[in-house]
């Protein structure tokens, strides 16, 4: 029932798109059916899989780096006021650094490579994760941590059983908004400095004014992102919050 309710607006939108595009009849606004057909061709040629694949790999790498480093930074800043005060203005600065500037500077200073592309994307997400996790670290229940100490629980056990479960909502929040951010920024990084991936393809189609190509890749990308949300993020979140 929920699935149908979700699907109806999508189908209505597709129908409106199809109708409007046929009515206008411009090469710059192709109907949905044409876009889907182009998508089929890209898929058959193997290019779609390759480009989506490398983009996803970059997303995964940048996501992992940003989550791990951002979580560590956020925990340290949330728990130690001195570190927080020392790094706070730096973090705010980084948070407000335009994504484009970060990417361009990293490319200029460290060269065009897979590593710099991933680092540039991760840098854009890292402060966001740190700020969210810092919030969580500040909200930790000290009473539960005291309890754990009083029962002589080790550091590892406290982190795993007492601290992390309290941080899950914040970590999921960071992961959710992080993926949304990284999807967008990874395309910019590809457009500026890579020779494959969805961002690169869109740049090629842009130069050819090929709106059908742009829309077909956009569509494929949106579908993949939705699948990850449904198949991975939501079940994980439900699992972590089962006890509530």
């Amino acid at each position: 029932m929920g699935g149908v309710a979700r699907l109806v607006p999508v189908l209505v939108l597709l129908a409106c798109w199809e109708g409007a595009a046929r009515l206008i009849g411009s090469r710059l606004f192709p109907p949905a059916s044409t876009v889907v057909a182009a998508l089929g061709q890209e898929a058959a040629s193997g290019r779609l899989a390759h480009n989506l694949g490398v983009t996803m790999a970059r997303v995964a790498a940048a996501f992992a780096v940003a989550m791990v480093l951002g979580t560590a930074l956020g925990m340290v800043m949330g728990r130690w006021r001195r570190v927080d005060r020392a790094l706070d203005s730096l973090l705010t600065g980084l948070l407000n650094l335009p994504a484009l500037v970060g990417i361009v500077l990293i490319y200029v200073w460290f060269g065009l490579s897979e590593v710099t592309a991933v680092a540039a994307v991760a840098l854009n997400k890292l402060p966001n994760t740190a700020v969210t996790v810092r919030e969580g670290a500040r909200a930790l229940d000290q009473g539960l941590i005291d309890m754990a100490h009083s029962f002589r629980m080790g550091r590892g056990a406290i982190l795993r059983h007492v601290v992390l479960p309290q941080l899950y909502p914040y970590l999921f929040g960071a992961a959710r908004s992080g993926l949304a951010l990284i999807w967008k920024i990874v395309l910019v990084a590809e457009l500026l400095g890579r020779s494959d991936g969805v961002g690169f393809q869109i740049q090629v189609y842009f130069q050819l004014f090929d709106v059908t190509g742009i829309l077909s890749y956009t569509l494929a990308f949106i579908v993949v992102v939705q699948l990850i949300e449904w198949a991975l993020l939501q079940p994980l979140e439900r699992r972590a919050n089962r006890w509530r």
Partner: protein, 228 residues
């Protein structure tokens, strides 16, 4: 087993540090149950935290027989159970040396029907019992109890005291019980230390007659009235 001599303990407060304990001294014997009774805010909870090793910033000393702190089970005023673990899993978390003992404690404290529930589903009284079971599960030599029956209705509190007394009969350990209720202190403890308004120190020591120990709150109230 324990000698406490705190010359001074301050806590940060608005307008500078506030002295909560000054010149407090007492001793605790093996297997002895001592109640610390005093007005609220007189530093009793702070004292338990210091004895439990959670607060080490004070002037004075807390000395253990044998020089190392024994195994201590703490029952905090709030139950402090992990809400994402069931009662049974909460007890397992503190690594009871004997899992069969953990199960026996669940039965002894009347927690079997609640063992697979998560703490948010428990009443305060049941959650406190689970915290008591957890503290006993590590086979403590010393039990620290901070107002374990405060803000429960009288019947629930009396039930809790009764199962605690039963647990003590079968599992001997020393205990420090913080309470502001003299009748409760007399119904559970062997000896009562009356603490002053903060900064806390011991103003009187009362011995509960052996024949009157752990005989319920009515007997506790009678003893309290007789010995004060």
């Amino acid at each position: 087993m324990l000698g406490v001599e705190i010359s001074r303990k301050t806590v940060p407060a608005r307008g500078g540090p506030r002295t909560v304990i000054a010149g407090l001294r007492f001793a605790l014997q093996e297997n002895e149950i001592v109640a610390l009774v005093g007005p609220s805010g007189c530093g009793k909870t702070t004292l338990l935290r210091m004895i439990g090793g959670l607060d080490t910033r004070y002037e004075g000393r807390i000395a253990w027989a044998g020089d190392t702190a024994p195994r201590i089970g703490t029952v905090f005023q709030e139950p402090r159970l992990l809400p994402w673990r069931t009662v049974r899993q909460n007890i397992a978390l503190v690594r009871p040396p004997d899992p069969a003992e953990a199960e026996a404690l669940l039965a002894l404290l009347g927690l079997v029907p609640y063992a697979d529930l998560h703490p948010p589903a428990l009443s305060l009284g049941m959650a406190r019992r689970a915290a008591i079971a957890r503290a006993f599960a590590i086979r403590p030599a010393l039990l620290l109890l901070d107002e374990p029956f405060v803000s429960l209705d009288p019947a629930m509190a009396e039930q809790g005291r009764s199962v605690l007394a039963t647990a003590w009969r079968t599992r001997r350990c020393a205990a420090l019980l913080v309470t502001h209720d003299l009748a409760e202190a007399a119904s559970l403890a062997d000896r009562i230390l009356l603490l002053s308004e903060g900064p806390a120190r011991v103003v009187r020591e009362l011995l509960v007659p052996e024949g009157s120990r752990r005989r319920g709150i009515a007997e506790g109230a009678r003893v309290a009235a007789a010995i004060t």
